[in-house]
């Protein structure tokens, strides 16, 4: 007997099987990432125990899990580099190259829908894209000129900072914006999007543009240097500093990655830091995972996913720091 989507059997309520699977999917995805570590660690030796397709397949399955967590946790590709560099025996240069191209593919495939719905704004994104993509080239060069252990330490420190930002960051659905910002007026940065919860079109604009655009220099440097998806940083800057509504900040951030990551990705491609055998299973897995994540999104508690992501980031951060210090 079905009552309000809950199954009652012999007077006791039991959740339906599909609900149990949905509840288990996120923790299982998270655990799967670390569960294969011993096998992959064995494979890192001089006599690999797995054929090439074995680790390509494991990478594909894990990136499906990461894709699910990425959508539900709202952190984009930021998990890929720390997790894959922590548990796979690939050099971090290739992981970073794959991370950038994976974030780029995700951004390219999501942007058309976001632009159509007015959730990403080209006038807000363009100045930020120019600043961030220029900085990301500098970041990519910086990385390729730095010793690996320094990058691992920087990666560990940055991942811990992201976990702290996720713990402490507030979100503002519709920030109050003071009008009259000269840069906003000169560039006519404003828009309208449809808000289903209010059943109306919401007009918006931004302010504190100088401070916001300065922050994109830092974001671009980090994105290029560490190969991390920069959504975790773009969204707070657009939402909390510049005053864009949360949905516009999330959409524009996704759109921005297509420029920021393109410039850094070219540096990696030109340096030969792309392994197709690693990149293509990752991109395919991430695309499938994000699609599953999007299906699960309305049914999963965001707070549970948030905590799983924070714990995973902390574990990956510890691993990166240990690698950086040669432990």
């Amino acid at each position: 007997m079905l009552v309000n989507d809950r199954t009652i059997i012999r007077g006791r309520w039991r959740p339906p099987l599909s609900a149990c699977i949905r509840r288990l999917l996120v923790p299982v995805s998270a655990l799967s990432v670390f569960a294969v570590f011993p096998l992959l660690a064995m494979d890192a030796g001089s006599a690999p125990v797995l054929p090439w397709w074995g680790w390509a397949l494991i990478l594909f399955v894990i990136t499906i899990g990461l894709g699910i967590i990425a959508v539900l946790g709202g952190v984009g590709g930021v998990l890929f580099v720390p997790i894959v560099s922590a548990v796979f025996p690939f050099h971090i240069d290739f992981v970073r190259g794959a991370g950038l191209l994976m974030a780029l593919s995700g951004s390219l495939s999501a942007s058309p829908a976001l632009l159509r719905k007015g959730l990403a704004n080209i006038r807000l994104a363009l100045p930020a894209a120019l600043i961030a993509s220029t900085a990301s080239i500098a970041g990519a060069f910086w990385r390729l000129a730095l010793p690996t252990n320094i990058v691992q330490i920087a990666l560990g420190a940055t991942i811990f900072s992201i976990a702290v930002v996720m713990l402490l960051a507030r979100k503002s659905l519709f920030p109050a914006v003071r009008e009259g910002n000269p840069i906003t007026q000169a560039l006519v940065i404003s828009g309208v999007y449809h808000e289903p919860s209010k059943k109306e079109h919401v007009p918006w604009t931004v302010f504190r543009t100088r401070r916001g655009f300065f922050m994109f220099i830092v974001i671009g440097l980090l994105a290029g240097m560490l190969g991390l998806g920069a959504g975790w940083a773009n969204v707070p800057v657009l939402n909390l500093i510049m005053g864009a509504p949360l949905k516009v900040a999330v959409g524009t951030s996704m759109f921005l990655l297509s420029s920021t990551d393109t410039s850094a990705a070219w540096i990696f491609i030109n340096r030969g830091a792309v392994l197709p055998v690693m990149l293509i299973p990752s991109v395919s897995g991430m695309i499938i995972g994000t699609k599953i994540g999007a299906l699960l999104l309305p049914r999963v508690k965001p707070s549970v996913v948030r905590w799983i992501v924070i714990v995973m980031l902390c574990l990956a951060g510890v691993r990166a720091l240990l690698k950086g210090f040669g432990i």
């Binding site: 240069d93 297509s258 850094a264 070219w266 991109v283």
Partner: protein, 143 residues
């Protein structure tokens, strides 16, 4: 009643966004298609790898400089002359995906020019120059 454009900023429809979306939409589909087809050709062994697939586990943990040396020192656009190898053939889809943003920006240049959007035109032209500079391989870095 006039239908509201989904690209509207207040009352002004953003034609550049419409054009950008069209290029992006088509480009991503083609790019992902090329990526999967070229990888299948490589993985199925229709083309040999410059580093054979079975030998990859011996090289994947090497720092970039050593890996590129083992691969024959091919960097920049030299992969275009090595498309007979499966690993370099797979670069076709990767390079196409990385080039889509630049193509989309190029598409909106005439739109912004017609609209006399001088500041945005300048931003887009500089952005294209930055992306082309990054893609050119002119910039060098190393350990």
């Amino acid at each position: 009643m006039k239908k509201r454009s989904p690209y509207a900023t207040h009352e002004t429809p953003l034609r550049e966004a419409e054009q950008y979306v069209r290029v992006l939409d088509t480009g991503v589909k083609i790019g992902l298609g090329i990526l999967l087809i070229t990888f299948f050709v490589y993985a199925a062994g229709f083309l040999p790898g410059n580093i054979p697939l079975a030998d990859l586990p011996r090289y994947r943990h090497l720092p970039l400089k050593e890996f590129v040396h083992a691969q024959g020192g091919h960097t920049g656009w030299s992969w275009l002359s090595l498309l007979r190898y499966g690993d370099f053939f797979s670069y076709t889809g990767i390079a196409f995906l990385a080039g889509i943003t630049t193509i989309a920006y190029l598409r909106i240049v005439p739109v912004l020019f017609r609209k006399k959007e001088r500041i945005f035109l300048l931003i887009v032209v500089i952005e294209i120059a930055v992306l082309l500079l990054a893609a050119s391989g002119v910039l060098h870095a190393g350990h």
